[in-house]
């Protein structure tokens, strides 16, 4: 370790300690506000870099964490579990939990603490078996799309969601299509080929090939006190923005769009009925996803990919540039969920 040159940014109090790199999280981990988003994402990228680029063990301290947002919590789960799955020796990845009682309690009650505890792929699969709010799946049958979806639905059922309800039905519709989008778009063959070619320069370990292709991470819960249903899904595949750029590169009539900012490209990609497969009956999933956002008041859809941020709610669509470049795609729905009589619809 003492001979290894690794970055030790002061911003995260990074140092070599007990044979591993020790890093301290920002006090606020959130990707919704520009102020905290950059440091949140930099912190998570650094952890992944230590494990996969520098092949060193990491102690990830959340001891001084004072607040984490929903989307940030999913990215934390994605990063930590990816590192945990990606190493043979589980003791290489250590997580120190928050000292703040309220934050620790929230981590525990949300299922995040269980999701972050030490363990590799067996732990991740146990999360599915126990219908945890935080789940990760891949194309491997033991943790495939159907299994993860079923675990998610059972969890919602257990927490009082009434599925004989228009909003629940539309929510599940959107959720299903988002999971399918990961399968069909996030990890296409061209991306996997290019990804492996570049990654093999630094590492012989191919995460996706060795731990399950098409991996994604998600969290879903019923926020009873605020009457919300929340679903967030993340993949570190090609990303919607890169996918659209590839589509435009291969379509001469769209080549002028390649210089558009990521926020605009993301907006284009989210238009109804656009399918990168070019097959007419595909591309219907976007309608489900957007419907869940704009049908109900106090509900919204957020998508982040590349440098693009897209938000759609009952007031309309807003796209902005992110202060950091997110690998892959993150999609978030928050739906205002109130029990209703069918007669009121």
């Amino acid at each position: 370790m003492s001979n290894l040159i690794v970055p030790l940014p002061k911003a995260f109090d990074a140092k070599v300690k007990d044979g591993k790199v020790y890093v301290e999280s920002p006090k606020v981990m959130c990707v919704y506000s520009a102020e905290s988003a950059y440091m949140t994402y930099e912190f998570l990228s650094l952890i992944e870099s230590y494990v996969f680029d520098y092949n060193v063990g990491v102690t990830i301290s959340f001891e001084n964490l004072e607040y984490f947002s929903a989307a940030a919590s999913l990215l934390i789960f994605a990063t930590v579990s990816k590192c945990q799955i990606g190493v043979k020796d589980h003791s290489k990845i250590e997580v120190l939990f928050p000292k703040n009682d309220a934050v620790l309690k929230l981590m525990a009650s949300s299922g995040l603490k269980l999701a972050l505890k030490q363990g590799g792929i067996a732990k991740v699969r146990k999360l599915i078996d126990s219908n945890n709010q935080y789940l990760s799946g891949s194309e491997v049958s033991i943790e495939n799309y159907q299994k993860v979806l079923t675990a998610t639905l059972l969890n919602l059922d257990k927490h009082g969601v009434n599925f004989s309800n228009t909003k629940s039905q539309i929510f599940v519709k959107g959720m299903q299509e988002a999971i399918l989008n990961v399968k069909y778009h996030a990890y296409n063959d061209e991306f996997i080929r290019d990804f492996l070619l570049t990654k093999q320069v630094k590492s012989k370990f191919s995460f996706h090939e060795e731990t399950g292709r098409g991996r994604w991470w998600q969290c879903c819960w019923h926020d009873v006190s605020n009457n919300k249903l929340i679903f967030i899904i993340y993949d570190d595949g090609e990303g919607i923005v890169n996918s659209i750029k590839r589509y435009y590169r291969n379509s001469p009539e769209h080549s002028d769009k390649l210089n558009l900012p990521d926020s605009t490209l993301l907006g284009n990609a989210m238009k109804l009925g656009v399918s990168r497969t070019g097959i007419k009956e595909r591309g219907k999933g976007s309608a489900d996803i957007i419907n869940t956002a704009c049908t109900f008041p106090s509900s919204h859809l957020i998508v982040m990919s590349g440098l693009g941020h897209y938000r759609h709610d009952s007031a309309g669509i807003n796209t902005t540039q992110l202060p950091f470049e997110i690998k892959g795609t993150l999609v978030q729905w928050v739906i205002n969920y109130v029990e209703e009589n069918q007669d009121d619809i």
Binding site: N144, Y145, L153, T166, Q169, V172, L180, K280, K284
Partner: protein
């Protein structure tokens, strides 16, 4: 004849069989057999969609739109015969409307 989707799965999901055990492609096979039977006996096939967790558009398009796209039935046979061969029973009108639109689009 009545067929309850819950008998197939309470959580139908996905378009193709590669998406999982309870995909649209798998459901279409069941649908096609039951429709053929109903057609031979000049009776409607009523599909009950309720009391499942939710139905994605990919599942519905592959199940129902696929009946026409794959040349198994025409939209006239499904929707315009008397009695109407394919009938959808659900408390959520948007599913019935969505299914009909996929059938009509598949033939256009």
């Amino acid at each position: 004849m009545i067929y309850d989707l819950r008998d197939f799965s309470k959580a139908p999901f996905g378009r193709y069989k590669s998406d999982g055990e309870f995909s649209g492609e798998a459901f279409r096979e069941i649908l096609a057999n039951k429709l053929k039977y109903s057609q031979e006996h000049n009776e409607p096939l009523i599909i009950k969609l309720d009391n499942v967790y939710g139905l994605g558009s990919s599942f519905l398009e592959e199940s129902f739109g696929g009946l026409v796209r794959k040349g198994l039935f025409t939209k006239e046979e499904l929707l315009e015969s008397s009695p109407r061969l394919l009938q959808i029973e659900t408390e959520f009108d948007f599913y019935a409307i969505e299914i009909e639109s996929y059938i009509r689009e598949a033939q256009s």
